[in-house]
Amino acid sequence: MLAWGAMMERTIEDGDGSGTTAEAVERVDSPPDLEFDPPYLYPDYVSTRLRAPSSPLVLLPNAMSELTGPVFGRERVQPGDADLTNQHPGEPIGERIIVSGRVLDSDGRPVRDGLVEVWQANAAGRYHHDVDDHPAPLDPNFTGLGRALTDHEGRYGFITVKPGPYPWRNHDNAWRPAHIHFSLFGSQFPQRLATQMYFPADPLFYQDPIYNSIPTEARPRVIARLDMSSAIPEWALAYRFDIVLRGRHATPFEHDDDD
């Protein structure tokens, strides 16, 4: 296993004398990134070992390709896509929950009309996917896919069932804490974020390398909180998960009056 320090050394070595413009190159996992994001190489998460880039990232000067991004309309999101419990003839088994929140950028601006995609295991911890061979039951009434567009304030909401934890083969007796995958678009392509939402006080956190790949102080930001104000009495508990994308790159012609 490569310690972070050893990786830094290797990176510096690789980047030396190559003729690359020095200021254009950042180390693969420079400390500023590590304030909030996981490194590419996190050896305890075994899949990173052969997939993490080993060469330094090249710092990209921003052009229009980084200042713009895809815009999705209603054609991408069908009515009912935000209710994962109502996509089949019957209701899925499990604890019905509401998951809602706001999508903002780090400058505090709401992300409007942003596409939010979620996918998750069913209540038994099984994904509706050919590759998942966990011997837990599939639920014929649960696909585990939801889509929504954020509103003018950046709000989104889903109705779903609480996903179950499930085993995986990363290490001996490895179990993923219950989580919901999120994919988000901002207004600029580099704001793209894929993350996972976890549930409060999950006793499986301690042994999960994916969760623990996040710097300690940033881990609470991927944990939803119980949100009794959004719960519907006698019907469903609710969790709140606010998401902050990176700020927009400034553009030369930008006015700060659009929110």
Binding site: F36, P38, Y40, Y45, R51, M64, S65, I214, R221, V244
Partner: protein, 180 residues
């Protein structure tokens, strides 16, 4: 105001549940005149195909205009392809026009790409340039940032129905990735 960002997490092995779109690879509809296929494979550090990745692409139209530009033709600009069992991906699109780089000079035509996968705790970002644009590539300010031997990893080579662009995540021939 600066809000703390939400950390990235891997999209995991089941990302295709949400991120495989039937029309994802079709940046332009099939049958569009002058359309090209860009096809390639994604390989890990051992040369093994990555069969659980999704590539997303973003580009201007052939006039160099992004969809938000009021003068742009109707053009989605966005492509999304999940990899297959051989690590293969493809998009059907129009070759992008040239846009200005941050210094106001003309960049060589390129498509921006992000890749999500199991084992990637953050996406990797790259660019797809075109092998039959040698003159434009030679004066591109971003390609000039990259040491010559690695520059070729960003250049798609002409093929029977378009271009070929492989992505090597790690090791020999590792694709150049950007800090965007």
């Amino acid at each position: 105001m600066t809000l703390p960002r939400t950390p990235s997490q891997t999209a995991g092995p089941y990302l295709a549940i949400a991120m495989r779109w039937a029309d994802g690879p079709l940046v332009v509809p099939e049958g569009t005149p002058a359309a090209i296929w860009i096809r390639g494979r994604v390989l890990d550090g051992a040369g093994v195909p990555v069969d659980d990745a999704v590539i997303e692409t973003w580009q201007p139209d052939p006039d160099g205009r992004f969809p938000a530009d009021p003068d742009a033709r109707p053009f989605r600009g966005f492509g999304r392809s999940a990899t297959d069992a051989e690590g293969g991906w493809q998009i059907h699109t129009l070759k992008p026009g040239r846009i200005a780089d941050p210094e106001g000079r003309l960049a060589a035509p390129y498509i921006s790409a992000a890749l999500f996968a199991r084992g990637l705790l953050r996406p990797v970002w790259t660019r797809i340039y075109f092998g039959d644009e040698a003159e434009a590539n030679a004066e591109d300010s971003v390609l000039a940032l990259i040491e010559a031997p690695r520059r070729a990893t960003l250049v798609a080579e002409p093929s029977a129905d378009g271009y070929r662009f492989d992505i090597r995540l790690q090791g020999p021939g590792e694709t150049v990735f950007f800090d965007v």
